[in-house]
Symmetry: C3
Subunit: 452 residues, 3 copies
C-alpha cells in the first residue's frame, strides 16, 4: 500500500470519556498544562507528527467545549458526538465511521494517554512500509494493569491480553491506543461483528483481526507515556510538562508586563506568563509554570509546581510539587503534592497534610473503594469553586467536591461531596479570667528585645 502523505489519512481522537475516576477534577481533556488544555496538546502533537486531519469524538457533556477548543489548533478538525457513552471505546470509534472512507487509512488515538510527539512520528514513519495495522507498544519494566501484546519475533501481534496479572504477561509490551489501520473498513467491520455488550469490544476486535491473520505490527515505544486515570496522575503529567521547561525563560519582559521585585528569587526552569507579578522575597524554584496575571506574593515559595492564571499565591504560602488551577487564592498556606481546581480559596493557616504519620502510601477513595496512589507523598485533591476557611487541616489524599465550603479550624479526614458545606463544632468553655499579669514579665521581654 502506498499513501500520499497527509492527503487521505484521518485520525480519530477519542475524547468522549467522562473521567469519572478523576473526580472531582473534571474532564481530563481540559486540564491545562503550560497554558494549553491537554486536548490541544494532543492535537498539536498529531499535527507535528503529520496527522493533520482529525475527527474528535466527544460526548454531550463536552461537545461544546471541544468545538470551541478546536478553533485554536492548526489541524483540520471535525467534531462528532458519541451518543451512547456506555458503548465505550468501540462506540466512540464507530461514532466516527461516517467521517472516514472505507479504503482510507486511519489512526485511532485515545484521549486517556499522554505521550510524546515522537510516538506519532514513529507511526508516521512506519506506516509507509506498513502492514494492515500498527500498534504503539510501551516497553514496561514492571507490571501495569493494561493490555499486553503477544507478538512474534518480528513484532507481529498474535493476541492482546487484558490485565494478565503480574507474572503472566505475554511480553513487556503494553498496548497504547495509538493504532494505525491501513484500511479503516477492516476495523469498522470487525468492530461491528463483535457483541456490543462486550466491555472490551474494541480490544476483542483487535484480537479477532490478529487471529484472522491481519498483519498488525507492534511499534515499540520508549518515550514518555502516562495514562491519566486517577487524580494523582495529574501530578505525574505536571512533572512531565514542567521538566520540558529547559531553563529560566522570560522573554520580552517589558512587553509581557511581568514584574519581579528586586528581592525576589527565580531559579531553575521557570515559565512566567504575561502579567505575572513576583513580590518581595518571593522564591520561584523551577521547574515551575506561573500563569497569566498571577501574583506570587511577599515571602511565598513556589517550587516544582504549576500555577494557573489569575491566582494569588499569598504571603508566606508554600506551594510544592502541586498543580493549582486558575483564580486560586492562597494565604499563608502549605499546599504540597496537591491538585487544586479553579476558583478556590484558602484561608490563612490552612494546610495540606501530604505524608501520613506512618509514612505509608496514601490511599484515596475512588468510586467507593480505597485505591493506593502508590506514593507516600500526596496532599489534597480539590474540585473547582471551593472556599476554605482559616487554620484548617486536610489529611493526605482527601478529596473535596466542587463548590463545597470547608469551615475554619477543622481536620478534614474524609472526602467532602460536591456542593456541601462542612464545618466543625467546637465546645468552648467560658470562665472569668482570674489571671494577674505581672507587668514585670512584659518589661523583661521588652528589655531582652532591646538587647537583641
Amino acid at each position: 500500500m502506498v499513501f500520499f502523505y497527509g492527503i487521505t489519512m484521518k485520525t480519530i481522537l477519542l475524547a468522549a470519556g467522562r473521567s469519572k475516576r478523576l473526580n472531582p477534577l473534571g474532564d481530563k481533556n481540559f486540564l491545562n498544562f503550560l497554558g494549553k488544555p491537554l486536548l490541544q496538546w494532543q492535537l498539536e502533537q498529531l499535527y507535528k507528527g503529520g496527522f493533520k486531519d482529525v475527527v474528535v469524538v466527544g460526548g454531550a457533556h463536552n461537545l461544546e467545549e471541544i468545538s470551541a477548543l478546536v478553533k485554536n489548533v492548526p489541524n483540520e478538525v471535525t467534531v462528532v458526538e458519541q451518543d451512547n457513552l456506555d458503548e465505550g471505546m468501540a462506540g466512540a470509534v464507530l461514532a466516527a465511521k461516517n467521517m472516514v472512507a472505507k479504503k482510507d487509512p486511519i489512526l485511532i488515538v485515545s484521549g486517556n494517554d499522554v505521550i510524546e510527539s515522537s510516538a506519532f512520528e514513529q507511526i508516521m514513519a512506519a506506516h509507509r512500509v506498513a502492514e494492515h495495522g500498527l500498534l504503539l507498544a510501551k516497553e514496561v519494566d514492571s507490571y501495569f494493569p493494561g493490555g499486553y501484546l503477544k507478538t512474534d519475533a518480528d513484532f507481529f501481534c498474535k493476541d492482546i491480553v487484558e490485565k494478565p496479572g503480574k507474572g503472566n504477561e505475554p511480553s513487556n509490551l503494553v498496548n497504547i491506543v495509538v493504532h494505525y489501520f491501513g484500511q479503516s473498513g477492516d476495523l469498522f467491520k470487525t468492530l461491528e461483528s463483535i457483541d456490543s455488550e462486550n466491555d472490551d469490544r474494541y480490544e476483542a476486535a483487535l484480537a479477532e483481526m490478529m487471529r484472522k491473520g491481519a498483519r498488525i505490527r507492534a511499534i515499540p515505544y520508549e518515550g514518555f507515556w502516562k495514562p491519566i486515570k486517577y487524580p494523582w496522575h495529574v501530578l505525574d503529567l505536571m512533572e512531565h510538562f514542567l521538566y520540558s521547561l529547559s531553563e529560566y525563560e522570560i522573554q520580552n519582559l517589558e512587553n509581557k508586563g511581568i514584574e519581579i521585585a528586586d528581592t525576589a528569587t527565580i531559579k531553575g526552569g521557570v515559565y512566567l506568563e504575561d502579567g505575572v507579578k513576583i513580590l518581595d522575597n518571593a522564591v520561584v524554584a523551577g521547574p515551575a509554570y506561573i500563569g497569566r496575571n498571577t501574583v506570587i506574593a511577599t515571602n511565598a515559595l513556589v517550587r516544582n509546581s504549576h500555577i494557573g492564571d489569575n491566582c494569588v499565591i499569598g504571603f508566606g504560602t508554600e506551594v510544592a510539587r502541586s498543580y493549582v488551577g486558575n483564580c486560586v487564592w492562597t494565604h499563608s498556606n502549605y499546599i504540597g503534592d496537591s491538585i487544586i481546581g479553579d476558583n478556590c480559596s484558602f484561608g490563612a493557616g490552612t494546610v495540606t497534610g501530604n505524608l501520613r504519620l506512618d509514612e505509608e502510601a496514601i490511599l484515596v477513595n475512588v468510586d467507593g473503594s480505597k485505591v493506593s496512589a502508590d506514593r507516600n507523598k500526596l496532599g489534597l485533591i480539590m474540585g473547582s469553586g471551593v472556599r476554605c476557611g482559616i487554620n484548617t487541616s486536610f489529611m493526605p489524599g482527601v478529596k473535596i467536591g466542587r463548590n463545597a465550603m470547608v469551615g475554619a479550624g477543622i481536620v478534614v479526614a474524609g472526602d467532602v461531596e460536591e456542593g456541601k458545606y462542612v464545618y466543625g463544632k467546637t465546645e468552648l468553655v467560658i470562665k472569668d479570667n482570674t489571671a494577674q499579669l505581672s507587668p514585670a514579665v512584659r518589661a523583661e521581654m521588652q528589655k531582652k528585645l532591646k538587647n537583641t
Copy 2:
C-alpha cells in the same frame, strides 16, 4: 456683625460621649493616629483654622485624660464636665454655657466626626460676612442616616430632618456638627426652651431657630468626613490618616535610632517613629505608620496598616489593612482588616478570618443586635489587654472584650466579653502506636533533598 479675629470667638468641643458602640475599643477621643490622639488632632486642626480658644466638654469617665492631653496643644483650653451624660449633645453644649459670654460668637464642634482642617478654614472665612449661624454641610452621594438640611437657593436653612429615610432626603446636604453662631446666647436660650426629655434636643433647637427666621446658612463641604461610631470606622479613619503620608519619610535616621536591615524592604508612604527596628527580609509596604520602638521582625509584612508604639510584629506575621495599638506582640500571625487594642498578644499560628466563606458583608454585634459593617473584609475587633494562645482562629467581625484570655487551637465564632477566659475542650484519643516506620522513606526523602 463684625468680629475681631481670634479675640472673643470660643469653640465648644464636645468630647463627653461614652463611645458605647465602639466597644471594646474605648474612648474615641484617645484613639491614636500617627502618634497623636484624635482629640489632639481636632484641637490642632481648630488652631490651624483660627479657633484658638476652646472649651472641651468631657465626662467623669475621661475628664482626667482630657485634662492631661490638652497640655500638649497650642490652643487655649478650658475643660468642663458634663454632669448628666444622658442629656446628650444639648447637655454638653449647656455645660459650657458659663464659659462663653452671651454676645460672643461660638463654634460647636463634635468629637464624633473627623474632618479636614479646611472645614474650619471654610467656617472661619464665611463667618466674617456671617449671618446668625453657619452649619457645615457634607454633600453626600448616597443615603446616610443623619440629619439633612432643607435649604433655600441661597443655602439658608429652613429645617433639619433627622434620618428621613432613603428617597425622602430634602437635599444632599448632611449636617456635620461644626456649627457657628454669631451670638452664643441665641443658641443657649433656644436650647433651654426645648423639653429636656427630647433626645434630639440640640437639633430641635436648631430647627426652632430656623423656623423663627434666624439666618442660618449651610456651608457645603467637600472634604473628608467620617463620623466615628462603629469599630470598623477606625479602619476608615486609619486609611484617611495613612493616605496623608505622602511618601517614604525617614528623617534623621541616626538620631532617631531607627535600624533597618539591609535585606528589609520599605516602599510607599511609610512613617517610622523613633527607635523602630525593621529586621531581615521584613517588608513594610505603605501607606503605613510604625510607632516608637516597634520591631518589625524577620520575614514579617506590614501593609496599609497603623502600628502603635513598642509592638513586636513577630516573625512571619502579616498585618494588612489593620490598626494595631501599643505594646502588641504578634508571632506568625495573619492580622487582616482588624482593630487591635493596646497590650495584646497573639500566639504563633493564630489568625484572623477577614472574609466570610460566602463573601457577604460582615455582621458585627453592636449592643445586642447585628449591624452590617457594609464591607466584605473585616477581621477581628479586640480590646486592650487580651492574651491569645496559639493556632486559634477568629471569625470575621468577632469582638473580644478587654482583658480577656483566649485559649489555643480554637475557633472563636462569637464575641468574648471583657475579663473572660475562653478555651476549648478537645477530646483526644490515646492508643498504642503500632506504626512501623520504614527507614527507607526517610532515606529516600533525604536523597531527594540532596539532589535539590
Copy 3:
C-alpha cells in the same frame, strides 16, 4: 605528698546515672553539643586539665555506647560497669575500686555536672601542695538545693550539709563532684564503712572523713556550672555552649560543602558544620550551631539555637532558643524554647506554645509531680522518633515520649507517653452549601490587586 605529674593519677568519671528526670530526652552523657556528646566534652576537658587516665563507670544501659565513644578521646580510658545502679554514687565509685591502687591519688568526677576546663586546672594546680583531699566548691548567690560545705577560714571542710533549706546554709559553697583524694584507699575504706542502705552514702563518707580530721580543702570555683537534671537544663547548657562560639566561623567553605544562598543572612556567632545548606532568605542569627548536612530552608529563621545533623528546618519555620536533635524535619513551624530529640518530624502549621497566657513560670511533670522550670518561657520537650501532624498546638512544658505519634489539628495540653498515638475527635457538621457567591466580590478583589 609528692606526685609525679600524670603518672599515677586516675580519674573516676561517673556516668552510670539513668537520667530518669531527663525523660524523655535520654541519657545525658550522649546529648550532643557542638557536634560532640557531653561525655566526650568531659573527657576532653579532663585531658586538657591534665587528667589523662580515666575510669568511666557506666551501667548496663549505656556501657556499649560509652565503650564506642571513648575510642574518640585522647585519654587513656577503661570502662567499668556498676552492677547495682540503686547503690547510687557510692556504688559507682566502688565499682572502679579495683582499677586504682590504694596509695594512688584519684579524682572523682560526676557526669551530672557541666563545668569549665578551668575547674580541672584549678584542682590540678592545687593538688601539688595538696592535703588529703580537695573538693570543688561553687560560690552561689542564691539558694541551690545541693550539698553545702561547712569550712573553716582556710577553706578546710568540717562538714557537708545536704539541702539545708534557704537561710540555713552553712556557707555559700556548694559541693560540685570534682573531688580529689591523695590516696584512693582513704575514700574506698570510708565508703565501705558506711551503711549501704544510706542514700547519701558518698556524702556521708565525706562527712565522716572530715569529722575524723582529714584535711579536705574546698577549692572555690567561679566558672560555669550547671547540673543537668531536668529537661530544661538542656537549654541552659545549650546557651553555655553557644556563647562559646565567638563569631561567624565558617572555615574552608568550599571543602566543607557548605552552600549559602546569596539572599540568606547569617549573623552573630554561627557554627556551620560540613554540608550545611542555607536556602533563600533564610536567616541564621547567632549564637547558633547547625549540624552536618542540615538544610535551613527558604524563609526559615534559626536564632539562639542548636540544630543537629541531617535536619531540615523547613520553609517558614522559626526555631528560637531551642535544642533540636539529629534528623528532625520541620515545616512552617514555630519551635520556641523547646528541646526536640532525634528523628522527629512536624507537620506544617504545628507550633509550640512557649509562654502561658498568664505569663507565670512553666510547670513540667517530672516523675508524677509538677516541677516549676523557674522560667516563663519553655516550649515542648520531645523524645526521639516522634511524628507529629499538621496544625497541632503544644502547650508550654508538655513532654512527648519517644516513638509517639501526635495527630493533626489538636491541642496537646498534657504529656504523651512513649509509644502512644494521640489524635483528636472532631465532630463535623455537613450541610448543603446554599451560599450564592457573587462574582462581583472576586472581581473587585482582583481589581484592587491590580492597583497594588
